[in-house]
Each structure stands twice: as C-alpha cells, then as structure tokens.
C-alpha cells in the first residue's frame, strides 16, 4: 500500500464534503449546549432532516425548498424539546431519547407514505458544484476547498459567524451566561427561558440542515440508516471541540477524513472485508473520546433545568 494515498487531493476534497453534515449538526448542538440544553435527540433530528430534504427534493425538484423544509423540521423538534426541557423542566436526556425515537419513526414513516415500496429507490438531484472564481485556481487548496457545493461555503461561514456571535456580541455573552449560571443571568435581567428556546430552535434548524446535506451531497437517496451515527458523532465533536466552533470544525474534518479514507483503502486493500473498513470511523471515535474527555469542561448548567422559583 502506498502512503501517497493518504495525502491524495481527491481524498481531502471528499473529506471536506463529508465534514459538512458534522459541522452543521455540531454547530447546532453547540449553540444549544452553550445555552444549557443537552440535546440527545440529535441523531434522530439528522435522520429526519435527511428524510424531509430528500422528500421535498423528490416532490418539487428544488434543492432550496428541500434545505428550507429540512431546517424547519429540525427547528420544530428543537421547539418541542425546549417546550419539555425549558418550560416543563423535564429531564433532558429522557425527553431527548423519546424525541430521538420519534424522529427516527417519522423519518421512515414519511418516506414510506410519500415514496412507497419500490424496487429501485428514487434519487434526488445533488447540490450543484459552485467554483469560487479566482480561488478555485489556487494550487491544491483550490481543488480541495473552492470547487465544492454551496453548503461547504455555508458551513465555513457558519463556524466564523457562530464564533463571532458567541464570543464577540452581547447576545452571545447572554446566551453563554444562561448555560453557565442561569440564576445569575436571571438576576441581571436576562430571560433564560427565552434564550434557551431561541437556541434550541436555531440549533435544531442547523441540525436539520446537517441532515439535509446527507441525501443532497453524499447519497442521493434516503435509507433508514442514512445518519449512520453522524448525529452522535456531532454530539461528541462538541465535547472534542471544547464547546468552541473552530474545535467542532477541526474535529469534523478529522472524522470526515477517516470516513473518506475507508473508500480509498477499499480500492487498494481488496482482501480486507468491507465491513471492517466501515467499522473504522466508529472505532476511531471511541479512541478519540478517551482523549476528548480529558479535562473537558462543559457549560456549568448543561443538562440542568432552570427553575426561577427554586431556592438556592
């Protein structure tokens, strides 16, 4: 096996494409966790976003409609989660797991209702490639980064904007304070409940978009297992990235690289059963987790419902 394979530009290009669902979903989860909400429904929301995007694309043939509806589906689940976790103060993991299963069911149910059972699964048109004029001509980088579909650029911009929002604006500070010390935030007049609701809806929309990227950029079809653990990995990336957008981006690229690698390796190492190569990203995830947890500091109030009336 030649080692040049590992630094092949087409491999990097595929890794960047494959990182998009992880970046979008990871940033959505990050936004929610920074406000104090732990969302374990993320895998289901990614699957639902993928299903909605596929069905909208299949029915209308328009990718913009597909993206919009997928974002709306994620936002709707985020709204329900916030209704339970913020206003009902229910246990976030319990509600999240229930919503996870609900989303899985809704995703395949709606696919079955709209598409039915067919011998060959229908496909949607992929997002078109948009070359950025000028930049695409750059040596190596041009091919890897700037001859991509629009969601790649959107994901890059999102990381920057989310960072600026969280760490350079008053609203970002308020959001983080709701996640660190809601009682103190409340005392200075910050509406913790409204902030968490907003973060949940916006974060949910991003997670839905992350799901939409799967059929629209990678597979072209929808299957029940389309998310393949990417939602859980995005949840993990938030820890890996220390609750910072650039950390999520870095982790997403790393994972996408390992994910893309299996396809390249499969071409060379024909003797290895494909299932063992498919295990690679998941085994890698477990190894990375051990490091990710060392010294990780979550937002102080993460996962804890805030009760204004409670005595300190």
């Amino acid at each position: 096996m030649s080692w040049e394979l590992l630094v092949d530009p087409s491999l990097f290009r595929l890794a960047v494409t494959m990182s998009v669902p992880l970046v979008l979903a990871g940033c959505g989860e990050l936004l929610m966790e920074r406000s104090g909400l732990l969302n374990v429904a993320i895998e289901g929301m990614v699957t639902l976003g993928a299903s909605v995007a596929f069905l909208a694309g299949f029915a209308t043939g328009r990718t913009d409609t597909a993206l919009l509806l997928a974002a709306l589906s994620g936002a709707a689940v985020g709204l329900v989660l916030a209704a339970y976790a913020v206003f009902g103060r229910r246990d976030q993991v319990t509600v999240g797991l229930a919503l996870y299963v609900l989303c899985l069911g809704l995703a395949s149910l709606s696919y079955r209702v709209v598409v039915g059972v067919r011998l060959t699964p229908p496909r949607v048109a992929p997002l078109p490639e948009v070359a950025l004029p000028g930049l695409e001509r750059l040596v190596l980088v041009g091919e890897v980064l700037f001859r991509q579909h629009a969601l790649v650029y959107a994901a890059g911009a999102l990381v920057l904007l989310l960072h600026l929002f969280l760490f350079r604006t008053a609203w970002g500070l308020r959001l983080r304070s709701a996640g660190e010390n809601p009682a103190a935030a409340d005392a200075v007049g910050i509406d913790v409940a409204a902030l968490r609701l907003g973060a949940s809806v916006a974060g949910g929309a991003l997670i839905g978009l992350g799901g939409a990227a799967l059929p629209l950029t990678l597979t072209g079809t929808f299957t029940e297992g389309i998310a393949g653990g990417r939602g859980w990995i995005a949840l993990m990336l938030v820890i890996f990235g220390r609750w910072a957008p650039h950390g999520v981006l870095l982790g997403a690229l790393l994972f996408a690289y390992v994910e893309a690698l299996q396809f390249k390796v499969a071409l060379v190492a024909k003797a290895v059963p494909p299932q063992f190569l498919q295990m690679l990203p998941y085994a890698f995830a477990i190894l990375v987790l051990i490091r990710a947890y060392r010294g990780a500091e979550a937002p102080e109030a993460l996962g804890r419902p805030y009760d204004r009336e409670a005595r300190a």
Binding site: G88, A98, L104, L109, R112, V113, Y282, A285, I286, Y293
Partner: protein
C-alpha cells in the same frame, strides 16, 4: 417493598391516568393512520387484538416479542437506576447472538441438557464483553457510556453483516443469514401450538433476579445509591466507579442473553435483521416503566402487543413497520407531558 416499587403498584387514580391517556392517544394516532391509509378502523383494531392476544398464535407471537423487549427494558432500567445510560442494547444483543450462534454451529451431537445452557451462557458472555469496554472507559477515563455504547452498536452490526454474508453464510439462503445452529441447542417450547418458546420464562426469571439484586442485597443498595447521588455514595464509602462499571456490564449481559434467546429460540441462526430496533424500544420501555424493574416488565408486554399489532396492520392496512416507533415515542411524550402538568398543578 421499597417506596419506589410500592409507588408503582399503588393504583391511585391520579397515578394511572397518564397511562390510560397514553393508551387512548395511541389508539387515536393508530386510527388516524389507518384512516389516512384508507383502511377500515374497526376491522384494523379488531385485527390488532386478534393478532396480539386474541388467538393462540397471536399470544405466542406476543410472548416471543416480549422476551427480548423485557430483557432489554430491564437492562436499560437497571442501568438508569445505577446512573448509566445503556444506549447499546442493540449492539449487545448482536454480540450475544454472535457468540451464541458461533457456539451453536459447533454443538452438533451435544445433548440439549448441556447445549441449551451453554448457548445461553455464550450470549451472556458476548453481551457482557461488549458492555465491559464502555464500562472500563467510563470508570477509568470518565468517558460517557452513551457515546461508546452507540459506537459499539455500529461496530457490532458491521461484524454481524460480515459473519452472515461471509464465513458463516448459508449458501442455500443467499441473504445475510448464517447456517442453522445444531438442533439440540434449540430452546424448548413453552406453548408448542402457539409457537411460544420458553424464553419468556428466562426473561421473567432474569427480571426477578435483577429486582432481588437491586432491592434485597447490599450491592443493589450501593448501585441505587450511586444512581441517586454519586457524591453522597462516595462519601458513604461506596466504590462508585466499580459499581458503575458493574451495573453497565450487568445491563449488557441481560441484553446479550436476549440475543442468545433470539438465536436459540426464534431464528435458530444468526441473521442481520435480528434486532428490529429492540435497543431503542428498550430505552422507551425503561423510561415508561419509571426506571423500575416491574415497570419495565409490564411495559415490555405492552410494547410487544404494539409491535405484533402493528405488524398485522402492516399486512392489513399498509402501515409501515416504522409507524410503531412513532406510536411508542408519542405515548412516552404524552406521559412526560401529563406528569409535568400534574406536578405543576
């Protein structure tokens, strides 16, 4: 009886109404599905009853379905009681099934008295080994067991795909199915005419044993103490990490047993679709049963009726199999909402 289990059996109307409401909601959702699919609601509901417990064969199917769900539900519930979320029941079922099938393929000529216990033990070991990795990582490095168990689900699934299409594949079947295990390793039948195997008895016995462990032993007391308040437990001298690791291994061993029962009692071989979502259903069952062992037992039978009933709807009214997830999750969300309203009211 502890306060917790007493609370479950105390049938105050106020405690039960969210459950009644949840079942009514389930029926309404189901009826609207059937209507939307253009079916006859009354005939469909009658079909569910006949298919799940209104006939001998239906009852047998429900008991068979309740077996893995009961073991899975108890597995998740005992984990939650000890402060761990075992999301990896599916993977542990599969690894239990792998070891059971691997042993079962080679048990030709061994008398059932030896073969059946051996294959069940193999399942327990397979599940326990698959749960030992997240247990170790949680206890040693503080890594959340949620992620590790989920990742191991995928790894187990790919491994089963490899075995069932590769080295153990049955060339006559063609699909992702292995060769059959030795007939002497088959689980005995409980109700032969109804097609119910004896797995349900094993599941009930396992549930009783787990209940006794939790509420009748010092170890169980310590497990519950860790689940309620790890800091207080540590100050009280409980080795918190070791109890957490133990409860996760125990939980996955139960799931592994379910895998062995599916192989030895139902499929008589390892197949790729061995677990049609038992893992996620187990989570719902545990939450529905308020994280108690008796609650999970009752919940698993209820879910088995739902699964078998919606299988019949799949044939009669065209309701897809995934519809049952929506139904189950909707019931749970209704319960969570109803309890929230009751608490604040």
């Amino acid at each position: 009886m502890t306060s917790e289990t007493r609370g479950l059996f105390r049938s105050r109307a106020g405690d039960l109404w969210p459950y009644v409401g949840g079942i009514v909601l389930a029926l309404v959702v189901l009826a609207s599905f059937v209507r939307a699919a253009g079916g006859d609601v009354a005939a469909a509901l009658g079909g569910i009853v006949r298919a799940s417990f209104g006939s001998a064969v239906g009852l047998g199917q429900t008991l068979n379905k309740a077996t893995p769900l009961m073991l899975g539900g108890v597995a998740v519930a005992v984990g939650m009681r000890g402060g761990v979320f075992n999301i990896g029941v599916d993977g542990q079922i599969y690894m239990g099934a792998v070891l059971a099938a691997g042993l079962g393929l080679g048990l030709v000529g061994v008398p059932p008295l030896v073969a059946v216990p051996a294959i069940l033990c193999a399942g327990v070991v397979g599940g326990a080994v698959w749960g030992a990795a997240p247990a170790l990582l949680r206890a040693r490095y503080g890594v959340s067991e949620i992620f590790v168990t989920v990742m191991l689900n995928f790894i187990a699934l790919f491994f089963v795909e490899y075995l069932s299409t590769g080295p153990w594949n049955d060339p006559l079947a063609g699909e992702a199915i292995t060769r059959p295990i030795a007939p002497s390793a088959h689980l005995p039948m409980l109700l032969a005419r109804a097609g119910a195997h004896a797995g349900i008895l094993l599941a009930l016995a396992a549930a009783a044993a787990v209940w006794a462990l939790l509420y009748r032993t010092v170890l169980g007391y310590e497990i519950r103490a860790v689940g309620d308040n790890p800091t207080a437990a540590r100050l009280g001298g409980v080795p918190v990490e070791r109890r957490i690791a133990f409860v996760l291994v125990l939980s996955s061993a139960l799931a592994g047993l379910a895998g062995a029962i599916e192989v030895a009692g139902f499929h008589t071989r390892l197949i790729l679709g061995l677990s049609p979502g038992y893992g996620v259903m187990s989570i719902l069952i545990a939450v529905l049963g308020r994280r108690t062992v008796p609650g999970a037992v009752v919940g698993s039978v209820f879910f088995a009726v739902l699964v078998v009933g919606s299988d019949s709807l799949q044939r009669s009214a065209g309701l897809p199999a995934s519809g049952v997830f929506v139904l189950q999750a909707a019931i749970l969300l209704f319960l969570l909402a109803a309890e929230g309203i009751r608490r604040t009211a």
